[in-house]
Amino acid sequence: MVSLRVYILTRVLLTIPMVFILLSLVFFVMRILPGDPVIAIVGMKASPEHIERLRHELGLDKPLWRQYIDYIAMIMRGDLGRSMIWGKRPVSTEIWDRFPATLELTICAFTVSVLIGLVTGVFASTKPGTKADVGLRLFSIVAYSLFIPLLGMLLQFTLGVKLKLLPVAGRKSPLVQIDRITGLYLLDSLLTLNLVGFVDALRYLLLPSITLGVVLSGVYTRLVRSSMLEVLREDFIRALRARGIPEGQILLRHALKNAFIPVLTMMGLQFSLLLAGAILTETTFSWPGMGTFLLERIEYRDYTTVQGTIVFYALLVAMVSLIVDIIYAYIDPRIRY
């Protein structure tokens, strides 16, 4: 296990140059884009003196290289700085406000998509070429190509408006109080034994999770199916059958585990992608997550917030991919670091 620790340490160290390069890129690209936060806030009609004063306050009148060095120095101190617009709140607070909503939606939608994908994929792989298989493949293509707002609105209309089963927008009812610990409502309400809050948060989570989960599941259905079919052709599966191992056990304990590596790769990529916020889903369900937040801040040229968020993402993505690599080694004993 020593080698695993060395591996993890190496990977962690390697994220530093990665973050640095990414940060530099974002820093300059943001400044190449036309407009700046001052113009975005006060508009073109403000007096030149006013604009100049605001620029000075934000340090935007300094030479570019100076701004860059100042910013890097700040980051090295572990400070993401303050937002350049409105309340000028610390970037870390802004992220802390928004990120839990995204994380909660990500985990739920991700679980929905993986569950649908695994069940349909394994099922289809046991009956290749049958009507059920063709049907599931068709479902997976349709699901994958569905436009999220369309599916979202269909569900909102049927389950929300017509049947009045589920709320259609937001994270919880305005009247329900959930004490904030992690910002994940489901977890917080459980930790505070707030059953009303839990049920409420769950009801609000269902529609966006299902919408996003169904759309993402198509990929897994196809991937699980093809990966399973490949494994099921292998010699050791025949050998298992020849040893009279029950078919269900062969499928789940042996074939699925062997077929899981490519699926895990996809899961890691998709989880990272989801953490960046599902803008379409968030917009459809007025979900206060990172996707809409980042988009808005890019529009306002809120340099520090965008830069800080990107750093935060870079670290998250690095962490997720490291975890995926560790799981690889856990699943497959032939993989050693």
Binding site: E234, D235, F236, R238, A242, R243, G244, I245, R334
Partner: protein, 317 residues
């Protein structure tokens, strides 16, 4: 007493589009209790398909069209899937050609053995583990390798582990399909010795499928020779060696090098085996047969009993 295994008129075709590859075409054979049958033939002669068909594991698009496989008086071809899976690995053990790919790479070897034992008994996990260790030791793998993964085993060890799995459920019949082909010569002879000793210890019947007639000669009591989906000759090993009847068997034996006969010339059989989708009419060997007659081109030869030998050839009618 009826034989342990009695295969009658078995036909297995692979359906490829509108073509049918006649891999096993009307084969009958018997295996007695405690007997080692060597099933010999070249690649594509249908010997592996025959082995798989006995436990109904013929891969897609193969289909068992006709025949019966009587095992201890029950027809395996008519058994419901659930009961058959108790026979597979339980009463009939199988060992395959490639030990490198025949174990689940993600599961510890010992656990795979435990899984097999538990699938065929009411033992608890601890009892099954005890038994697993015992069987690993029986095939010459020490107990401390129990927790190894397949990739930590050598080819020979993996094949030993496969054999341990096949015999751990105390089967009465072991079907070994080219069990030593993927292994080097020294390991090959070790595995063959293992088979011999297991057979003596456990009183096991074995069907040894091999393309190497000399390997079969070493261990088998009886040898069945397959050619192009037909069983062409079946006889006790010594009889077959001393007086092979079928021209194909004669050709096979002439192609085996013999260390005692210094000036012996190796003779190969000219031509190639036929396309089993469109096999030649009459005797399938006639295009390559040095003694082919007119009738061979027209009529499929009957099975003729000559002494202890059963031969499918017009010469002995």
């Amino acid at each position: 007493m009826p034989p342990l295994l009695d295969v009658r008129g078995l036909r297995v075709y692979y359906m490829l589009g509108d073509e049918a590859v006649k891999a096993v075409d009307g084969v009958s054979l018997k295996v007695e209790k405690g007997e080692v049958l060597g099933l010999v033939g070249e690649s594509g002669s249908g010997k592996s398909t025959l082995g798989l068909a006995i436990v109904r594991l013929v891969p897609h698009p193969g289909r068992i069209l006709e025949g019966s496989v009587l095992f201890k008086g029950r027809d395996l071809l008519k058994l419901p899937e659930q009961e058959l899976s108790k026979v597979r690995g339980g009463e009939i053990g199988m060992v395959f050609q490639d030990p490198l790919t025949s174990l689940d790479p993600l599961m510890r070897v010992g656990e795979q053995l435990v899984e097999t034992i538990m699938a065929h008994s009411q033992l608890t996990k601890e009892e099954a583990k005890e038994k697993a260790v015992k069987y690993l030791e029986l095939v010459g793998i020490s107990a401390e390798r129990f927790y190894d993964y397949p990739h930590q085993f050598s080819g020979g060890m993996r094949q030993r582990a496969m054999i341990a799995m096949a015999i751990s459920t105390s089967p009465s019949l072991l079907i070994a399909d080219e069990p030593t082909t993927a292994l080097d010569v020294i390991v090959q002879s070790q595995i063959m010795e293992l088979f011999q000793s297991l057979r003596e210890k456990l009183g096991l019947s074995v069907i040894l499928i091999t393309h190497d007639i000399s390997v079969a000669m070493e261990v088998a009591d009886k040898i069945a020779v397959m050619y192009a989906g037909h069983l062409v000759e079946c006889a006790p090993s010594e009889t077959l060696y001393d007086s092979p009847l079928h021209p194909y068997t004669q050709g096979l034996l002439k192609a085996v090098p013999n260390i005692e006969l210094k000036d012996m010339k190796l003779v190969y059989i000219p031509g190639t085996p036929p396309d089993l989708a469109n096999p030649p009419p009459g005797c399938r060997f006639h295009p390559r047969c040095p003694r082919a007659m007119d009738v061979c081109r027209r009529e499929e030869p009957p099975e003729v009993e000559v002494g202890e030998t059963t031969v499918k050839c017009h010469l002995y009618r």
